[in-house]
Symmetry: C2
Subunit: 358 residues, 2 copies
């Protein structure tokens, strides 16, 4: 049992990944120093002879060299990465924002990293902690969050730690946390919707709002109610129903509205498209024909608004642009003041809200 002396020569050291080509390899193959190779491969580097640069680039290409992002990050201290916290990617609302983030990140040469967060703040704290290890250039927080005040405090602490390290925090969504934010124009969208409906002749809305108390729900409701009031529209007592934020929630909400037998109610506004679609089903089941007998409008315009009959009026919140804007906020220098970007929402009037007589 003797050891083969030939293998004894190999330095022990850490085992690296099998046959990864490194800068060293490229430099050797091109017959230059590592320093020169590094400069030749950096497009921003000035002092490289064209000849040397060409040779190194060609060698790198031939060997299939890809710089090690981790090594680069540990020397420069910077990562070309944004970390995105999403509650549930299956929610088309989130998916739309995330799509904007991915596109814009790609266009800006950044990698987007994701982690799920279960909607709960405690979970977000955990994820922020984990993500901090990656030293991302920025963290983008998406979606609604719910949790106790103490949870909220520890989230803010954890984010503060991150910003002290030089990280940037950007919110894509509701205007809840004290950071630069790309705002989803909910309030403005709700307001514009009501104004348009008024113009079409609607006068007495009922509201179906989510039964949890999120900033998003509040903004939607506020936008509706304020504009309705200012236009002299009547919101009857009991015409604001709380329900789970789902198709079935919308369905049940309309059933309870029907039982109450409101006088003169002419349009039902739901906080999401899914709820509105459920509401339409309930109307049909109650013998009411959505659109002709009573107006219906959803919100967000991400679910199948075109797939129901009649097609559903909704509000396009430009969510992909919100996601893209969040990335841009992360990339541009942060001002002393908190920044806020908001796009114009677009009301899309469809079959469920025909013009009203009179």
């Amino acid at each position: 049992m003797t050891t083969d002396p030939a293998t004894d020569d190999q330095p022990p050291g850490i085992r690296t990944r099998p046959s990864t080509v490194t800068l060293r390899d490229v430099a050797d193959a091109a017959g230059v120093s590592k320093a020169s190779a590094s400069r030749a491969l950096d497009p921003r580097s000035q002092y490289v002879s064209p000849e040397l640069r060409a040779r190194v680039m060609e060698t790198a290409r031939r060997l299939g060299y890809r710089p090690n992002a981790s090594a680069r990050a540990t020397t420069t201290g910077a990562t070309a990465m944004v970390a995105v916290l999403v509650s549930d990617i299956r929610d088309p609302y989130n998916a739309e924002i995330v799509h904007g983030v991915i596109e814009q990140a790609g266009a800006s040469g950044l990698v987007a990293t994701f982690a799920g967060t279960d909607h709960a703040i405690d979970d977000e704290v955990r994820v922020v902690r984990m993500m901090r290890s990656l030293r991302p250039h920025a963290m983008i927080l998406t979606g609604a969050r719910s949790g106790s005040t103490v949870s909220r405090t520890s989230l803010e602490e954890e984010l503060a730690r991150y910003t002290q390290e030089g990280g940037r925090v950007v919110i894509a969504g509701d205007d809840e946390l004290p950071f630069d934010t790309a705002v989803v124009p909910r309030r403005r969208g709700a307001s514009a919707l009501v104004a348009d409906l008024f113009r079409l002749g609607y006068r007495s809305p009922a509201l179906i709002r989510p039964d949890h108390d999120s900033a998003a729900a509040r903004e939607w409701e506020d936008g509706i109610v304020e504009t309705a009031r200012s236009l002299g529209m009547r919101i009857e007592y009991g015409a604001v129903v709380r329900a789970p934020m789902s198709r079935d929630g919308g369905y049940d909400a309309v059933r309870s509205l029907v039982e109450q037998r409101h006088e003169g109610l002419d349009v039902v506004l739901a906080a999401t498209d899914a709820m509105a679609i459920g509401a339409m089903s309930a109307m049909r089941d109650a013998g009411l024909s959505p659109g002709t007998e009573i107006g219906v409008a959803g919100f967000d315009d991400v679910v199948g608004t075109e797939d129901v009959t009649p097609t559903l009026t909704s509000v396009d919140l430009a969510l992909a642009r919100v996601g893209a804007a969040a990335v841009e906020l992360a990339l541009t220098e942060s001002a002393a003041d908190r920044r806020r970007v908001e796009f114009e929402p677009r009301v899309i009037l469809r079959g469920t809200t025909p013009a009203r007589h009179g």
Copy 2:
């Protein structure tokens, strides 16, 4: 203009991020060596006195220390990261798979990184190149891809480079590329659907399939056709319509079927739920009542199958589990042979396919 001698002492070196706490800081604050601090923080490390470990952990907590993942990756050569390539996250089909990936990655202590790929192989090649820099533990490819043979070859080359570096490639979706794959059970699902419909009394199906030639579309069609034939069902000439993979595609397909006036057609099968929902609309517009007069079934069960009237029969492909399984394949040792995981799809019979007389 004299330089302040006091500042002259500072080592020039690279500027690191403002006030990040490093292992060095923790070690100093705890009065131990970096080596000991490192070991104390590594739960798998054996030879640490409980006393020292406790002290270091407490210090780390107090300072808000988070290990630098890049530095760790450059020393160990391994990253706790999976890179996911998705074509379009807004597609609920993809979102469902990605959801499974994120969940399972989180549970396994991995970070999931995403990049979008525009469906085109050329773009995938670009993204794989970019992602290689991150040295992720694995790359997970999702969704359909289209492109020339030469594009496909360069994709395979780029992936080969990656595997030579020790990376793992896993496919979540269609059985197209020669790597470990978590299969979306399309063919099996299509087959089970037809069998169930046969049992309900349906005998003469029409097919609406996507007008592009993807592996997914092919598998669906093959599953349908084979099973139908083997059961003695009749698929009429011209009863297979190609259409864009969208609601409107489904709508138009049914119009053309109606024009052809097929005899005895008793059920329309669409390759996606969205197409099926469009098909239902077209039936109504043609004076046919979906469900009662003619059966309809979608596929995937991710869009609003419950939101139409009658509710839409579809097939649940367990997509989140497919995503999770892809992560698991990435984590377990790869066998010599290519591995393949496939779950049982679930046919969900709803209102659009009532039992047929006789």
